[in-house]
Amino acid sequence: MDPIIANFIEENIVPKFNYWIYVILMMIGLYAMITKNNLIKKLIGMAIFQTAIILFYVSIGVKEDGGIPIISHHGPDHHQETEAHSEAGSENLKHNIIDKDKYANPLPHVLMLTAIVVGVSTLGLALAISQRIHKSFGTLEEDEILNKLRPGGHD
């Protein structure tokens, strides 16, 4: 392999593969949204498109040694105790120094929770709209719909 290409892959693709994956996914979705003739395929493209963005955001929050952003002081086996906070426990908490490198960045997760909800809502509404289209035009192919509109309709 050409060393320049190899170098490029090593410096720009391997450590940043998350961006490459999201861009490729997103472009697949975008292409489907722009060019597909079937309305449902467009919506599938839209879903891929939105998912790609979610992937991108979540990958921002990743840290190499980071776990889930839930603070556990007693290890995973002591759930019962964390549930019932004792006065003393919370006193201890304040003095505990939390190593922020051990936890993933919570903010992208929060944002994406919202984005997922928005995606679901958009998809649901879009499906409802495409059902209406199917009811009025009898088809979901864009060119057929436009053909049906041509006689009599302006524009």
């Binding site: 839930i70 603070i71 939390i98 903010l107």
Partner: protein, 249 residues
């Protein structure tokens, strides 16, 4: 169109990739986003100021609670939007005989469902309630609860599910959910704090201001769960019957 689409896609893709040259690499804990003041604050201080160890829940329901309120509103909009677009109210009149051909799935499926439904619902409630300490929260729990009703409709027919969860009731549930969330925020207003400033609620809740935040998060998560449950079922029932709500799939 195809060529245009391809060109557009390539231009956009290259533009997006060109920006990655000065992005941090995968998993770099020193990136501006992960190492920034805001992120560090959430990780280091959340539990101290809200007594909630699950930072995601705390950020979602408290720091960015305003966002989450609108997120719930988005779900609500999707629900009433689908009804506004698709619902065919005339169609429901001819639904007198739907009971005959709307018996749902076979006996085996119905039996299995009746066995697992309570567990699904209990788990859903657990997810709602336990969002402070483990992954979970109103949305996740609400979706599960909604799914349980969808399963009910699939197994026993939509008419049966509607007897439990009628259209009117879904709307009331959805509205009540948002009402709980927004009303809780307004309660903070009335007690002299900013909107959604749960800490002022310590006068009516047990514990100190931080515990008030923790409790309040539970309240708003329950509100979210109400709306999500109702709207998920409403979306399903409208989309599966083309808005006539008379006959399942």
């Amino acid at each position: 169109m195809k060529v245009f689409g391809l060109v557009a896609v390539f231009v956009v893709g290259l533009l997006l990739l060109s920006a990655t040259q000065d992005f941090p690499s995968w998993g770099n804990p020193r990136s501006a986003a992960s190492d920034g003041e805001v992120s560090s604050f959430y990780i280091e201080k959340t539990e101290a100021v809200t007594k909630v160890p699950n930072m995601v829940t705390a950020v979602l329901a408290d720091f960015r609670g305003y966002d989450t309120m609108f997120e719930t509103v988005v779900i609500f909009i999707a629900g009433i939007g689908i009804i506004a677009v698709l619902r065919n109210f005339e169609g429901s009149d001819s639904s007198i005989d739907y009971d005959n051909d709307d018996n749902g799935a076979g006996l085996l499926a119905r039996f299995t469902c009746s066995l697992i439904l309570p567990f699904i619902q209990i788990f859903a409630l657990y997810v709602v309630a336990h969002g402070h300490h483990s992954p979970g929260g109103g949305f996740q729990g609400g979706v599960m609860l909604g799914a349980s009703y969808i399963l009910l409709a699939l197994a026993f027919g939509l008419s049966k599910a509607k007897r439990i969860f009628s259209e009117r009731r879904t709307m009331i549930f959805a509205v009540v959910g948002i009402f709980i969330y927004v009303g809780w925020g307004v309660l903070c207003l009335l007690l002299g704090g900013e909107f959604l400033n749960y800490s002022v609620l310590d006068s009516i809740l047990p514990g100190d201001a931080m515990m008030a935040r923790s409790y309040s998060m539970l309240v708003v998560e329950i509100g979210v769960a109400f709306t999500v449950t109702a709207i998920m079922f409403s979306m399903y029932s409208n989309l599966s019957t083309r808005g006539r709500l008379s006959k399942g799939l």
